[in-house]
């Protein structure tokens, strides 16, 4: 039974972790010599006097001791204020509300593609292990694992754009509700690139899970009852392989939330990864801090949900 005590404990652990994440992020950003003011003002900072810079620092509160700044930031976040971009003046909350759904859409599409490619390949591999079929499928998996997403993405983009003159990503990004057709076209290549990379670990997990389940006694019992091969494969073998497959899929989906950064950059998809990257490049600490916190929070939530899902699939775990 998923007792409320368990839920409370998991939430407590997650909160502690999240706090640690916040500390880590906060500290990381202040390691760099030269602070936010000098960074954001750029050349102009060199023209100001120290007194003027100090005044600015006091105004933005960054002359306070780190701990005070950190606590101040935490309380702001708790009340929903994620900070502002100094350049555009937009609130990070607004930016995130706009970029997060984009990444989610991409992650969902990529995960779907990854599963559609990875699970059947894994099943194929496992049906006749160490055969040519298996070798071929594993080769595809190896390729997917080893071709860096940025390479594949860059290659596909330039190939289609320059040679076939097809580049939907060159136009402004279309939201699904505004122009679903264009949106899907723009999502297609990045989802394929990400999905391809994802298919590799999913294929591996599927293959090893099925191989392990196949040799178990209850499969023999099912065959001994005269059950049809299809039903044995699905209801007995695949069903019992689901837990590791679902767990791996959940983990990979979580990774996509932050790991889509490079692909978002290549295909100009305005997702949360890109938001983070641009924030880093322009030394917008407020943006970066809050963005990373949001991503980490999402990642934790995805992990929790995967855990939950796996308890639904396997009744044995429920009583644990």
């Amino acid at each position: 039974m998923i007792t409320s005590k368990r839920i409370a404990r998991t939430v407590a652990e997650a909160t502690v972790t999240l706090l640690g994440v916040a500390v880590l992020v906060f500290v990381m950003l202040r390691v760099l010599p030269g602070d936010q003011i000098t960074a954001s003002l750029g050349i102009e900072a060199g023209m100001m006097t120290e007194a003027q810079l100090d005044a600015l620092r006091a105004y933005y509160g960054i002359d306070q001791p780190l701990v005070v700044q950190f606590l101040g930031w935490l309380t702001e976040v708790a009340s929903g204020n994620l900070g502002f971009s100094q350049r555009t003046g937009q609130s990070v909350l607004e930016m995130t509300a706009s970029s997060l759904p984009v990444t989610l859409e991409l992650a969902i599409l990529a995960t779907l593609l990854g599963v559609l490619l990875g699970v059947p390949l894994g099943m194929l591999s496992a049906s006749r292990p160490n055969s040519r079929r298996d070798g071929g499928a594993q080769l595809i998996g190896l390729a997917a694992l080893s071709i860096p997403s940025f390479l594949l993405g860059a290659l596909l983009l330039t190939l289609l754009a320059r040679i076939l003159r097809y580049n939907p990503n060159a136009m402004g990004f279309a939201r699904p509700l505004e122009d679903l057709g264009l949106n899907l076209q723009q999502m297609m290549l990045p989802a394929i690139v990400l999905g391809f990379a994802l298919a590799a670990p999913i294929m591996r997990t599927t293959r090893s899970a099925i191989l392990e389940v196949k040799s178990q006694d209850f499969v023999r019992t099912a065959i001994g009852k005269g059950v049809s091969p299809l039903r044995v494969q699905v209801r007995h073998v695949l069903h019992n392989s689901l837990v590791p497959i679902v767990t791996m899929t959940g983990i990979q989906f979580g990774y996509l939330l932050g790991g889509a950064v490079v692909v978002e950059q290549i295909f100009s998809v305005p997702g949360i990864g890109r938001q983070f990257l641009i924030g880093m490049q322009q030394k917008e600490y407020a943006v970066v801090q809050s963005t990373v916190l949001v991503i980490a929070l999402l990642f934790l939530i995805v992990n929790l949900l995967t855990d939950l899902l796996y308890r639904i699939i396997d009744p044995r775990v429920r009583t644990g």
Binding site: Q216, D217, F218, R220, T221, A222, I223, G224, K225, G226, V227, S228, R231, R235, H236, H239, N240, I313, D314, P315, R316
Partner: protein
């Protein structure tokens, strides 16, 4: 005798590997009459389980039945297509396995697993469910309705084994093969299950083959006993003869090793020194020769099964010459 229910002739089971093939079961014969209960006794590695799996064609690579024939009520099982064999499995011939925990699908309710044995053979779902509950009651499962909705891990060992038995019996098979169904259970539960199966097979006049390593278990359970060693049949006789007048030294040693606190003439816990041969150790002559008290020079040639009293035994040395 062609009125046998099950007739195995010259069955050879081989383990195939890249380094070469290894015979494990060396051309055995087995006959069971309708309604009979046969006990197949042997230590681990004697080939008894493999023989039974071969009957049901449940062997998977690298194991393979490379020679021999299996006839069930005159039907040649080795000649059937996989689809035809599938029809027989679970309906005409059924098997109960050793470890009920691993032999049941952990993610499927007990009731569904019993039902599956019927729906696989075309029984409509509703009828199957009714029959499943009835069968669960027959195997003395308390509160069958509730048990049917439970998962294997929620049940005790004895309950799980009853569920497995129910799965096997629910289509009223002509032949039931029970492969050490009590080995993984506590002693007290063992006796319950043994009594249950005995009762069930008597009640339905079902032919049963009972595979075990423990001679004591089948004393009051079977009509006839076949003793296997090292992939060969060494003795085959009615149960009374096996227990009172064994015709093979191995059988005698098996009997002596049964714990008997009341008999002072022999040690309370006797053992047969040595261990059974591995398939790769191709022993010359009689497979039991290295461990046999009665071994003579003649034993360097493997003895065939010869009629002995009311049964058969594969030994050169007559009983009255035993030391």
């Amino acid at each position: 005798m062609s009125d046998n229910l099950l007739e195995i002739e010259g069955m050879v089971v081989t383990l195939r590997s890249r380094r070469g093939d290894q015979e494990i079961v060396h051309g055995i014969d087995l006959r069971v009459q309708p309604g009979e209960t046969l006990g197949v006794v042997g230590e681990s590695g004697s080939g008894k389980t493999l023989t039974m799996l071969s009957v049901m064609r449940l062997l998977s690579p690298p194991l393979e039945m490379t020679h021999g024939s299996v006839h069930l009520e005159g039907l040649d099982l080795t000649a059937l297509s996989e689809a035809e064999m599938r029809e027989l499995r679970g309906s005409r011939v059924a098997m109960v396995y050793q470890d009920p925990m691993t032999s049941l699908n952990p993610l499927m309710r007990i009731g569904d697993q019993v039902v599956e044995a019927m729906t696989a053979h075309g029984v409509p779902k509703d009828e199957a469910w009714q029959r499943a509950l009835a069968t669960l009651a027959r195997v003395e499962m308390p509160d069958p309705e509730r048990m049917a909705k439970a998962y294997p891990h929620e049940l005790s060992g004895g309950m799980r084994q009853r569920a497995l038995i129910a799965t096997a019996l629910t289509m009223d098979p002509t032949l039931l093969i029970a492969d050490e169904p009590t080995t993984a259970l506590d002693v007290t539960i063992q006796r319950q299950i043994l009594a249950l199966v005995k009762h069930l097979s008597a009640e339905s006049r079902m032919t049963t083959i009972w595979v075990t390593h423990d001679l004591g278990v089948i004393a009051r359970l079977v009509d006839r006993v076949m003793v296997m060693y090292g992939g060969y049949v060494v003795e085959d006789a009615p149960v009374d003869q096996i227990f009172h007048a064994p015709q093979h030294p191995y059988t005698k040693r098996l009997l002596e090793s049964l714990p008997n606190p009341t008999d002072d003439s022999r040690p309370p816990l006797a053992q047969i020194p040595g261990r059974p041969p591995l398939p790769s150790e191709n022993i010359e002559g009689c497979p039991f020769r290295p461990r046999c008290d009665e071994a003579r020079d003649a034993c360097m040639t493997r003895p065939e099964l010869e009629p002995r009293e009311a049964g058969r035994a594969a030994c050169w040395v007559p009983v009255d010459e035993w030391r």
